[in-house]
């Protein structure tokens, strides 16, 4: 389960230091892609469990998860979206 790939949506605070957040993510091996209002962040579940101080196994999407204290000046929210599935 810890190897399961997960994607989360991170939204910026106004006047966020986005470089600082990107560095924080990079140092922890969390991938990211820019979005209109923040970042799509992704990686395996174990990595998120370790660095977001909450186990994603205990969260039912869609849900907001706590922003790590180091990022609270720059990140308004981190959200676990509901799963997407093929429509077949």
């Amino acid at each position: 389960m810890s190897e399961q790939h997960v994607e989360l949506i991170l939204q910026w605070e106004a006047d966020a230091n986005t470089d600082r957040v990107r560095d924080w993510l990079r140092q922890r091996g969390i991938g990211f892609m820019p979005m209109q209002s923040g970042l799509l962040i992704f990686g395996n579940k174990g990595t998120f469990d370790q660095h977001l101080s909450v186990s994603l196994d205990n969260i039912t999407p869609p849900a907001q998860i706590p922003v790590p204290p180091e990022l609270q000046n720059d990140v308004k929210s981190i959200m676990l979206p509901s799963p997407r599935r093929p429509y077949a």
Binding site: Q36, L40, M79, R85, P86, A88
Partner: protein, 498 residues
Amino acid sequence: MMRFGLPVETVSDNPLPREILGYISVRGPQSVFDPAVTTLSTAAGAYQATPTDRAEVSRNLQNQGFTIIAESPLGVSVSGPPGAYEDLTGGTVVAKERLTHGEAGYHFYRTHLDIIGEQQPSVFGVGRARSAHVKIDGVVLEKPHVLHSVFPSPSPPNSPKFYLTVPDDVAAILNSISAHRSGAVGSGVAVAMPDTGFYRHPFFTVQHYEVATPITVVPGTNRSKDPVGHGTGEAANIFALAPGCTLQPIRASDNQGNLVAAIAGFLKAKEINPRIITSSWGGDEDYPPLGPPNQMDLAIAAEIQDAIHRGILVVFSAGNGQFSVEPQVPGVLAAGGVFVDQNGSPRASDYASGYQSTWFDNPVVPTVCGLVGMQPRAQYLMLPVPPGCELDREEAGPSIDPPDPPDGTTADDGWALFSGTSAAAPQLAGAAALLLGAKPAMTPAQVIEALSRTAVDVVVGRSFPQRFNNPATPGPDLATGAGLIDVGAALQYATGHF
């Protein structure tokens, strides 16, 4: 060797291996790599290199990153990364699929490696050293001994169920054949499709469809695989209407086939800036919605809207009973379902979502429809899939609840009967590609206008009754939007108006 019109050699999506086994011949008095040589010399030691040259070559190879596996008086067997071979030869190592004889008389595509470049010999798998000073007269890449895939037939099997084929039935019912005959085939139009993956099924090869090497967005996944078969099968719908377009598959599934990176797949699709993005997936939220869209929905909607603002036509499936934000975003071409029976009579598919959104500007989902089967399983389109994939296995078995007989194919033949609004979205994307190929200056809104204004009105049936239950009625309605697309009429409309 040709079989079913399959070429001896075709594109490979398999990534290069990290280590490639090869044989490197050290130059002796004679060389088998001389193009004029067609037989072996009988002279003793004709090809043997001097011990000094062999030692020098081995030393240089190791310095270049090769591992020496075995040595002989003629040359060395080595293992090395692709880059080491490229440094040695000045060529490029590429993977290709080659049709080979297999067990029990069957034919298979197997992945072979070649070294290509201006200075490289035309013989497959053979390279030439960049410099004559290195005392090497030939480089040979080992042929694969591992089977790449079983060989699915490029032609579909029969099924006792009523079903439609791709490309013929879908193209005929959606009226694209006359457009194809006039040369409108979607040439030059790039369509990106984030989905579970894409397997280069011989169906696509024999039809000469153009599919770019898939891109993956989940680390550690293989770009040539599609564990579910969904992306592969649905892609055939695009080409049924736009056989000349170029498909860029984006694999957003993990190794089990779960669509764990759908949003990343969509962002990647935007990055490559295609004319069309088609997505046959979505979420499922409460209906009627408990309130306005939440921040997550809005974040996804903002990405979709941005793609539309950049001139990309975005197609999303309406859902198979689901309610999700993607098809509701204003400007999206939302794909619903119409079932056309044995007699050619259309009705709203009871498998497809159809509703009026209370979000944004109250758009109707769907905008227009493609071909979709009926409940219980919508087994309607015979589509090519990776042999033995999830869809191949599941559709070949019976459904117990609700009861539905098997699709009549086998669990590992590389064909399965399925549909859903997952099929409608790529059909609409194919129709749009055909229009954009003929009229490249059309905007996404104009493409949607052409498809909507010319759609065939559907007046029978209801959208997914367990949740929406909206009737198809004369004129636009909440079950089918403007109705079933008519590609020939849409092309005429586009030609006359834009």
